[in-house]
């Protein structure tokens, strides 16, 4: 009781502030990264691996708490335990006033799941955690077979770099905010088409995962002279269009796509560091083909993915956080206003797609890992995708019972002679 230990706490980064405010039971803002092995998971070894991993990711020991003006992360000494999967995909993690860690590790048969509350980290940050976890697990489990060839951990940034708030580091100042505001009237986005459906009874996510050859899909993308992300985004827009009711067809379809800012600004943070861009497509009279959509999506990617644009957005969001007036508003009021703005912005988005990209592990582990996959809680059908070796896994999560868009999407791929393995949680 008489301890004089220093209270360790950290401010939230820019994106975390948003996630902490808007998470609820319907949209939990939890995402899942999974690694499927060829063998069944041994819980004891996994627990040891988790304890080892946690040593190099101290931020993962934090609990989220509410101050008078802002949320903050407070260090805790809670010990996480691995458990057999016993909750729906991306079930709530953060509960107000409850002190628990912001991630959980589940296993089921041969799969290891890491579920993370988005205020703690983004996909790339959490992927580093999962890769370290799988690394420790495989080394613990197969020390003999690997012999002397125990591979190096390929994510060994200093702890201070992992804890870095990169939004704050690359924030240049208020001037850009004004420029941004002036340019803003150039494109006022109109309301987007919104996908409707029947919610599942306890608002759980329905997950449909398609695993296929990355080379084969990339071949198709190359036939259109484009990248994997552009191709899949276009096919997603196309599938939504096919299932759209006729009277909704004058609304544009707008995809929201997160961008990993670590590609553009040097950072090794294991916390949030991403931005988002919107890709909009308005169907004119008459049938549009996939080719037309790809053309438009590619143009948007080229326009949006420049350092200047990303810088502008980063500074815009940071300036909201730095606004002296906004800072002194008490937290509950902040929460309500963020939720309100979020609701309004939500009308401008039809669906979202997020590509974690290519995941690499030391080649010594090739024989043990089947595939990686990623999925997230969502308000409407959403795609998350990642590639490991030649396994491209495209995961749809949706709170709706209907699966028409998913069906159209995968059928298009299977009809172009791509062999697809579907797994689902219902």
């Amino acid at each position: 009781m008489k301890q004089r230990k220093k209270v360790e706490w950290t401010r939230l980064d820019n994106a975390s502030k948003y996630f902490a405010a808007v998470s609820n039971f319907k949209d939990t803002k939890v995402f899942r990264l999974a690694c499927e092995l060829y063998e069944d998971v041994d819980p004891e070894a996994l627990q040891k691996a988790l304890d080892l991993t946690l040593e190099s990711f101290p931020l993962y020991r934090s609990v989220l708490r509410r101050g008078i003006f802002w949320y903050y992360l407070e260090a805790s000494d809670i010990k996480p335990t691995v458990e057999i999967e016993s909750l729906p995909v991306c079930a709530p993690i953060y509960y107000k006033d409850r002190r628990n860690l912001l991630f959980r590790v589940f296993y089921y048969n041969s799969r290891i799941n890491l579920e993370v509350f988005h205020a703690l980290s983004d996909g790339t940050g959490a992927l580093w955690f999962l890769k370290t976890l799988v690394h420790h697990y495989l080394v613990l489990k197969h020390k003999e077979e690997l012999g002397g060839r125990i591979p190096e951990l390929n994510y060994i940034a200093p702890i201070s770099k992992k804890m870095d708030d990169s939004f704050r580091r690359y924030y240049t100042g208020g001037k850009i905010f004004k420029q941004h505001a002036r340019n803003d009237d150039v494109k006022k986005e109109s309301a987007a088409y919104r996908i409707r459906g029947t919610r599942t009874e306890d608002s759980r996510m329905r997950l449909i995962e398609g695993s296929m050859s990355a080379k084969a899909v990339l071949g198709q993308a190359h036939a259109y002279d484009t990248t994997l992300t552009v191709y899949i985004a276009s096919l997603f827009i196309y599938s939504i269009y096919k299932e759209m009711p006729a009277r909704a067809k004058n609304f544009p379809i707008i995809l929201s796509i997160p961008i990993n800012l670590r590609q553009f600004f040097e950072s090794a943070t294991a916390r949030n560091f991403f931005s988002t861009m919107n890709v909009s497509y308005r169907f004119e009279k008459g049938e549009a083909g996939l080719g037309d959509i790809i053309q438009k999506v590619r143009e948007t990617f080229q326009r949006e993915l420049t350092e200047e644009m990303l810088n502008k957005q980063l500074n815009h969001f940071m300036s909201l956080e730095k606004n002296p007036l906004a800072r002194v508003v008490p937290l509950p009021l902040k929460d309500y206003s963020i939720r309100l703005v979020d609701k309004l912005n939500d009308r401008k988005i039809t669906a979202a797609l997020s590509n974690i990209g290519r995941i690499t592990m030391p080649e010594e582990f090739d024989g043990y890992i089947r595939q990686f996959s990623v999925c997230t809680s969502a308000r409407r059908p959403q795609i998350c995708m990642c590639t490991y070796g030649d396994r491209l896994v495209i995961s749809f999560t949706s709170p709706f019972r209907e699966t028409d868009i998913q069906s159209t999407f995968f059928k298009y791929l299977s009809q172009s002679n791509i062999d697809i393995e579907i797994s689902s949680n219902f």
């Binding site: 101050g67 903050y72 999967e85 729906p88 006033d97 089921y108 009874e201 069906s407 393995e421």
Partner: protein
């Protein structure tokens, strides 16, 4: 592995229907596969106790109004029943919502109970018992309860120190009652004020650094 000939995809696990198109699937080669995802039973938050209480509350209110209409009385007592039930619900909601943080629950209870006592006092003829007795006694009790809970639950100092301070400050409020001459009976208020001042000074003398850090953390802008 099963195969959906409509969607032209292979399906993992032992599904009877294609998750994409909903058509039934042929048995395949008959060998049972390992499931990829566990089946998780639907989860509903069932608060049976809360439902029973809600039912009893409504029944009680309706009955008392019915009885009052049949046998009129000089006091409008069914209204008091309504207020009583509302008061109970108000403190129940606070307890349920804040149940994971004991010191916070205690602080909230004192605030809610004090507010309710003023309301009841006013509603029943403004005799002043809420300010003369209830609020001072509630504050002192809360201080004791908070200290005892912290010891029993082995809370670390920084988990409750901010609430203890808040509690102490709240305990000084009755000084206003005396200064503004709102009350006639002083003794409960004086005991409360004295204890609060001692309590606060103890916090600052023994836990000054903790308080400073705790405030820095909670108040950062």
């Amino acid at each position: 592995m099963r195969y959906c000939s409509h969607c032209k995809v292979r399906i993992r696990g032992n599904k009877e229907f294609c998750p994409l198109c909903g058509n039934s699937l042929p048995a395949g080669d008959g060998s049972a596969q390992k499931e990829v995802y566990p089946e998780i039973p639907p989860f509903y938050e069932r608060h049976v106790a809360v439902r029973i209480m809600a039912f009893i509350s409504i029944a009680a209110v309706v009955t008392s109004f019915a009885v009052y209409m049949i046998f009129p009385a000089s006091v409008n007592w069914p209204l008091l029943v309504v207020f009583g039930i509302l008061s109970m619900w108000l403190s129940l909601v606070v307890v349920i919502r804040k149940r994971h943080n004991m010191p916070k629950t205690i602080m909230w209870q004192v605030t809610v109970a004090s507010a309710l006592s003023v309301f009841w006092d006013w509603e029943t003829g403004w005799k002043g018992w809420s300010r003369e007795y209830f609020i001072p006694i509630a504050c002192v009790t809360a201080m004791l309860v908070m200290y005892v809970t912290a010891k029993i639950m082995k809370l670390s100092v920084r988990d409750y120190i901010a609430y203890a301070l808040l509690n102490g400050l709240f305990g000084i409020v009755p000084i206003l009652f005396i200064l503004l001459d709102w009350i006639e009976v002083y003794h409960a208020s004086i005991v409360c004020i004295a204890l609060s001042i001692i309590f606060i000074s103890a916090i600052f003398i023994f836990q000054g650094e903790n308080i400073k850090e705790e405030l820095n953390k909670r108040m950062h802008i």
